[in-house]
Amino acid sequence: MIGGLFIYNHKGEVLISRVYRDDIGRNAVDAFRVNVIHARQQVRSPVTNIARTSFFHVKRSNIWLAAVTKQNVNAAMVFEFLYKMCDVMTAYFGKISEENIKNNFVLIYELLDEILDFGYPQNSETGALKTFITQQGIKSQHQTKEEQSQITSQVTGQIGWRREGIKYRRNELFLDVLESVNLLMSPQGQVLSAHVSGRVVMKSYLSGMPECKFGMNDKIVIDKQGKAGASDEAGKSSGKQSIAIDDCTFHQCVRLSKFDSERSISFIPPDGEYELMRYRTTKDIILPFRVIPLVREVGRTKLEVKVVIKSNFKPSLLAQKIEVRIPTPLNTSGVQVICMKGKAKYKASENAIVWKIKRMAGMKESQISAEIELLPTNDKKKWARPPISMNFEVPFAPSGLKVRYLKVFESKLNYSDHDVIKWVRYIGRSGIYETRC
C-alpha cells in the first residue's frame, strides 16, 4: 500500500510530508527531489523506481504530489487516489498552489489522516468529509451524540456521498451535457479518427434522500422499448434519434448491477455538483467544423498557407469562441495574414498564427490566407508540420445525445417529481480537433 505522501513546490521543497509505513524513510523525500524534480531530462514516466522504492507523481500547476511505496501496490488506485486528493483539496480551499497549501497545511494533514489509513484509501467524498473536518478546525466539541453517530454512519455507510436531513425550500436540479469532440483528419479530408467523450454533470439541490432515474436516447434502451411497444412508429421516430454509446462509466452513486442487467440508470445523488456519468461515442458524430488546409512551399524561404473553415450545423445555432491555430516553422521571419472574418495574429512565441472568431452561425464558411517568410537555415531537419488545431464551443451535443428524462422520487417527504424544477443544457466543445496539413 501507499507508504508515504509528499507534496513539493516547483523548487522541490517539501510542503507536506506524511509517512504511513515504516519502510519509507526520510531519504525517500530527497530521492524523489533529486531524481525526478531536479532531473535534467524531461520526466519519461509518471512512475519512477529509485533504489527499490517506487514513486508515483502527478503535477498540478507547479506543485508536485508524490506517493511512495516499497510494495507491489495497485498502481491505478494510487493515481486515482492522487487525483482524488487534488479534488478534495480543491473543494476545501480552491486552487492547488504553494500559497494555499502552506496556509492550509494543518487541514491537509488532518485530511490525509482521515482519507488514508496505513496507506489504504478511505472514504474521500468531500460531502462526507466536510461534515466533520472543516477549515475552522473540527467542531466535535459541540456535537450531540446523534450528530456524531450520523457522521460515522455516513462516512462508512452505503450512501457515503450524501448526508441525511438535507432540506431545500425549492427543489431544483441542473443537468449539463458537456461533450468534447475529438477529430484527427488527413489533409485530404478523410476522418482518421473521431470520437466524442461526454460527461453528464449534475447539480442537485434536492431535499431528503431522493431516488433518481435518468434516461437518455441510448440506442440499446430505445430499441428494447421499440420492440416491447411493438409499434413501428415508435421505433422509427425514436430509433432515428438514438445514439450508440460505446462505453460509459458512472459515479459511485449509480447502481451498476442494475445498469448491467436493465440498462437503467438509478441513483441517490450527492448534494451539489458532481459528475454523474462519462461516455464515449464514435458513430454518427456531428463534426461542427471542417478545416481545409492548403500549404505550398514557394522556394526555400517562403510558405503560402490558405485555410478554409466550414461550419456544419443548423444555421439557427451559433458557435462561439472559435480559434484556429496554424503552426508556423521555427525559422519564420515574418508573416502576412488576410482573413475575411475575425482577427488573426502571428504569435512568434507560440510559433503559430492564431485566428479568432467570436461567433459563427451554422452552414457558413470563412477563409484565411497567410504568407510566411522563412530564414534560410542549414538545419537538415525538416519542419515537423504540426497539425492545424481548432477550438470552439457549440450549443448542442455533437454525439447526438439527448436527455429524455430525469425522474425524482422521495417517498418520505412530500414533494413529487413534478415539483422539481429541472434544467438541461448542452455544450459541445472541441477536444483535440486537428487537421493535418
Binding site: V47, N72, N103, Q122, Q141, Q143, S149, D260, R385
Partner: protein, 943 residues
Amino acid sequence: ETNKLYCTSVKCCIFELKAELNSDKKEKKKEAVKKVIASMTVGKDVSALFPDVVNCMQTDNLELKKLVYLYLMNYAKSQPDMAIMAVNTFVKDCEDPNPLIRALAVRTMGCIRVDKITEYLCEPLRKCLKDEDPYVRKTAAVCVAKLHDINAQLVEDQGFLDTLKDLISDSNPMVVANAVAALSEISESHPNCNLLDLNPQSINKLLTALNECTEWGQIFILDCLANYTPRDDRESQSICERVTPRLSHANSAVVLSAVKVLMKFMEMLPKDLDYYGTLLKKLAPPLVTLLSAEPELQYVALRNINLIVQKRPEILKHEMKVFFVKYNDPIYVKLEKLDIMIRLASQANIAQVLAELKEYATEVDVDFVRKAVRAIGRCAIKVEQSAERCVSTLLDLIQTKVNYVVQEAIVVIKDIFRKYPNKYESVIATLCENLDSLDEPEARAAMIWIVGEYAERIDNADELLESFLEGFHDESTQVTTQQNTQVLHKHTQNTPDSDNPDLRDRGYIYWRLLSTDPVAAKEVVLAEKPLISEETDLIEPTLLEELICHIGSLASVYHKPPNAFVEGSRGVQHKRLPARTASGESAESPDAGQSVGGVSDAPPAVIPSQGDLLGDLLNLDLAPPSASVPVVPASMQMGVDLLGGGLDSLVGLHRPSGSQYLSGDIGGSPIAVGLAGGTGGMPAGLGGTPAMGGGLGDLFDLGGGVGMATGSYVPPKAVWLPAMKAKGLEISGTFARRGGGIHMDLSLTNNAMSIMTDFAIQFNRNSFGLAPAGPLQVLTPLAQNQTIDVSLPLNTNGPIMKMEPLNNLQVAVKNNIDVFYFSCQYPISLLFVEDGKMDRQVFLATWKDIPSENETQYQIKDFHLNSDAASTKLQGSNVFTVAKRTVDAQDLLYQSIKLTNGIWALAELRIQSITPNYMLALKCRAPEVSQYICQCYELLLRN
C-alpha cells in the same frame, strides 16, 4: 501568515518553541505546535521538544490533539521512553463517547511503533474491533494490520486474526472492505496458512459487499477476489457475471481490478461457451475508455493493455485507432501507444498504421521517432504484403537526411533483408550513399552486414568494407565482430584477386586458413542465418501469466514479477492463472480452492534469463568508480549512482538465498557451490547425537574454560576519505559488531568553509551483500570544523558481487556539495555471527568431510598468550572454541566460525608453549575466505 511559519521555522530555535509550548495561553500553544509540525515537514529535527509537545496532548481541542498525534507518530520511535507518557491519554481516548475520538486514538496508537505502547494497545483494540460504531470497527480492522507489521506473533497470540475474519461478515460494507484489505496484507507474509479462507460462501459475502462499499473498498475486494480459484467453470462464470458491472465504474482502478478478475477467471471457461464470447466483447470498451483518463492513468492502462493484448489479442484487435498517438500526449503515453500499435498491426489495418507511423517519424522527440522507424520495420516483417510499402516509406525517411532517422532506418532494413532475402536489393545503392553519416555502432554493424551479404551485387564492396576497416580499433565489439565475419564472408565468395595489397594479403591469410577445411569454414561463415521472429519484445509466457494475475499493480507497470522490486517476504509468491476445470471434475483438485491466491506451492515461475543478463550489464556500466577515479560532474554521478540501485532492483536478482548465490559466485568451483546444500543439511545431522561415549569423543576435552565474552574487537578509526579529495569533507571510520548487528561507525569532519547538509550513503554491490539498514542519520547540518560521529547500522541483504579483495567495500557518500566515493576494507570478523558454535560431533564430521585441498595453513608469529586467553579473546568476536586438546606440550584449539551468509569455517589453532608462534589450520568449503579469516585471527589476537 503560515507562509511565515514555514520560513521562520528554519531560524526559529528550539528554545523559543519550548517556551511557547509551555505557555498558558491555548492559542499560543496551538500556534507553537503548528510551527513544530511545519519544521518537521521541512525535515528539521524537532525531537528535542518531545516532552513539551506531549504535554499538550491532554486537551479537549481536537485539532490540537491531532497535531500532537502527528508529532508522536513521527518521533515516538526515537524517544520510546517518553512516548510512554502518551499511553494513558490513548487508553482514555479509546473509551471516549465520541466514536470519532475512539477511532482516532486507535488509529494513531497503531502507528506508534514502540513495543511498550503496543502492549497497551491490545485491550483497546480488542474492544474497538467489537465497537458498536462501524467507523471505529473499520479503523480497528486496519489497526490489526498495523500491529501485525510491528509484532506478528502478538497478533496471533491475541487472537486478533480470528476477530478480523469475523469482520468479513460484518453488516457494514466498509468494515468488510477494510477487513479484507488487512487480511490480504497479513496473508501475504503467511503464504501457507489459509487466512482468508476463500470459499463459495465467503466469496458470496464479498460479492455482496462489492455492490455497496466505496470505490476504494471495491478495489480491495476485487484484488482479493482475484486470488481465489473457483472450483469449476460454472462458479467461475457466476463470479464473472457479478463482477462485470464494475467495468462501468468511474474509478479506473476499480475497472482494472475487475479486468484482472475477469482475465483470470476466463481461463477456466470453455472457449465454445457463449458466455466466453460475450465476456470478450464486454472487455474491449472499458479498456478503451481508460485511454480518456488522465495521462498518468493512461500510462498504467497502456502498460496493462500491452499485457492483455499479448495474452488475448482478440479483445482489442478492432480498436487500433484508439491507440493512435495524439500530438499533445506526454511522451510516456506516446511510446506505450506505439508498442501496442505494433502488436495490433495486421493485414487489415496495416495501411492506416503505416500512414500513422510515417507521421510520427517526423516528430521531435528522438526516442519516439526512432521507435516509430523501428515500428515500420516491424510491420514489414509482421505483414509480408506490406513489406514493399514499408521499404519505400523507409527510403523516404532516409531521404530526409535526419541523422538518427537514417541510422535507425538502416538497422531495420537489415532486418527486412534478413526476413526477405534477395528481394529488395535495389535499395542498396541508396543505403550506400549514407555510409558517411553512420556513427552509431548498431547502424554501422547493420550496414557492414548488408554490404557483406550482397557483396557480389555491390561493385565497390571491397572499398566500402575497407573504409570501415580503417577505424577497426576504435570500433565497438558489435561492429568489429560484424566486420570480421563479413570480410571473411566476402572472401569465401571471391578469390582474393584484389589490387589492394593489404586487403589481398589479408585475404590470402583467410584463404589459407579456409583452405585447410573449406567446407567447414563455409558452414561457419555462410551458415543459414536464424530467422527473424515476427513479434518483438514478447514477454515470456510464464511471466506473462504471472503478470496477468497482477493487472493494475506495479508489477504490471514494470512488467516484472513483484519479487524483482519488492523487498522481503511480500510478493515472493508467484501467482498463476487457474487451469480450466469443468464442473464435473472439480472434486479432483481438492486444494484448488484452499490455497491462498490460487498460489499453491507451485514452483517459482521461470524468469526470462535476459533479465539477469541485463542486470549484469547494467551493473557493469553503472557501478560507481572507486576512490582513485577523479570526480565526475556531480549531478551526473548522482543520477548514475542513485539510479544504479534503482535499475538493478528493477531488473532484479532472482536468487533464492544469499548464501547460495555467494558461494557460487566466489568459488566458481563445484565444491563451493555445494556448500549451500551442505550447511543446510548439517543441523539435521547434529540434532540426534547426544553426549559422546565413543573414542572420538575422548579426543576432545570439553572446552569449559571459555570465559566470558568480552565484546568483539573494533579496529581504530582510519581515514577513509581525506578532506582534500572530498571538497573539505573528511571521513574516517571503522566497523563494529554490536549486539548481533553490524555497524559502520563514521566520523564526519567538515574542513570546508561552508555548512554541509543532506548526507546520504550508498554501497556498491559487494561480496557479502553489506548494505545500510537505514539512512545515514546526520540530522543537524555539519558546521565548519565540526566533527560528528554517526553509527550506521548495516545488514547483509544488499546485492552481491564478488569484490577484489573479498572484503572490499565501495562507498558513495553524498552531501549538499557533491558525491564522493571511497573504498575501505572491513575485517571479515564483522561477519562472524553469534550462533557460530558448532556441535563437537558435527565439527568432527564436517572437518573430515571437507577435502584436504581446502585446508590452508598459516603461521602467526610472536605470540605469548596462553590458550585460554586466546580462546576468550577470540570468542569475543564470535570465534567459538568447540574443543581443546593438549598433546606434547602444545594446546590444540578447535574452533568454528559462521559467516552471515551461512559459510562455515573450521579452525585448528596450535599453541606451543616453547615457541611464541601459533599455527593455524583453516578448513572451509569456500577456501577464498580463509586468507581473510586468518588476517582476522591475527588482528583479534594482537588486540
